[in-house]
Amino acid sequence: MAMSELIHLDQAFGALADSTRRAILARLAEGEATVMELAEPFDMSQPAVSQHLKVLEDAGLVASRVQGAKRPRRLAKVGIDAMDQWLAMLRKALETNYDRLDEVLATMDKEKVEKKRKGEMQ
């Protein structure tokens, strides 16, 4: 891996270490949006959103284009990869719980068999 890519990855990681920025990325995963559109659902001022967007742009996660007076933002390739990774991790977090449930279910099954056995013995 090239050193520039490593620096990028490090920056991307820093940019992701904030729940608002992750939410902005998740919103952009749904499609292009302007600062105003991004500010509304998050109940944030436009300057605050712009500041978060700058961090995301510097990290290469978000790209923009010029459309008249507006600058709609979209996910850059790295941003798309990052969101894919977050979804994979959400999946993993759920899997941790369900793996535990597998064990609980196995115990429930055993208890049931034992109860049945006891019932038969009486």
């Binding site: 891996m1 050193m3 890519e5 490593l6 990855l9 490090d10 990681f13 992701l16 270490a17 729940s19 992750r22 939410a23 990325l25 998740a26 919103r27 995963a29 749904e30 509304e40 659902p41 998050f42 990774q85 977050w86 979804l87 991790m89 959400l90 999946r91 993993k92 977090a93 759920l94 899997e95 941790t96 719980n97 369900y98 535990r100 449930l101 597998d102 064990e103 609980v104 279910l105 196995a106 429930m108 099954d109």
Partner: protein
């Protein structure tokens, strides 16, 4: 190889499926009986659910409180909408972090699949922004473990890159 699928559907849904090698009755009970829920719905290691209330009837109250010795606590409240033993649970939930998140309407189905159960959990959020918010910040405790994993992943990539 993962047994779990997680995908978005339309603008406001998130659908999770998971197969369990236990009959629907057991999987259904494991989702509503507090004594069982407290054993598995824990998120990452170190978290417990000291308060787990499930009034399993339409309109019944739901309240889960998660706690960690170092990381503090957060809670979830909700209401049951419909319960069909042992095939379907409909409920509404919101996390308090500490501000309440928008209502998440959840329908969980338990369908027999061979000797096991196919669970399908369909979440409906008020709008796509809320869904985006939930996917990125929701399940706070779970995401924290994931975040640690991300750190490890990136650290190992950096180490590999450095060695090359």
């Amino acid at each position: 190889m993962s047994k779990l699928t997680l995908k978005t559907e339309g603008d406001t849904h998130v659908v999770v499926t998971r197969y369990f090698s236990a009959p629907p009755e057991a999987v259904y009970r494991a989702h509503i009986e507090p004594g069982i829920v407290q054993k598995w719905m824990l998120g990452p290691d170190g978290w417990t659910i000291p308060v787990c209330i499930n009034e399993a009837k339409p309109g019944g109250k739901i309240r889960y409180e998660w706690a960690h010795p170092q990381r503090g606590s957060f809670f979830l409240t909700g209401e049951f909408v419909a319960l069909e033993p042992y095939s379907r649970i409909v409920h509404i939930e919101r996390m308090h972090l500490p501000d309440p998140t928008p209502d998440n309407h959840v329908e969980t189905r338990f369908a027999p699949d061979g000797t096991g159960t196919l669970m399908t959990m369909r979440m409906t959020l008020p709008n796509e922004q809320t869904r985006a918010m939930m996917l990125s910040t929701g399940m706070e405790s779970g995401m924290e473990a994931s975040y640690v994993r991300l750190e490890q992943l990136i650290a190992s990539r950096l180490a590999r890159g450095g060695a090359a």
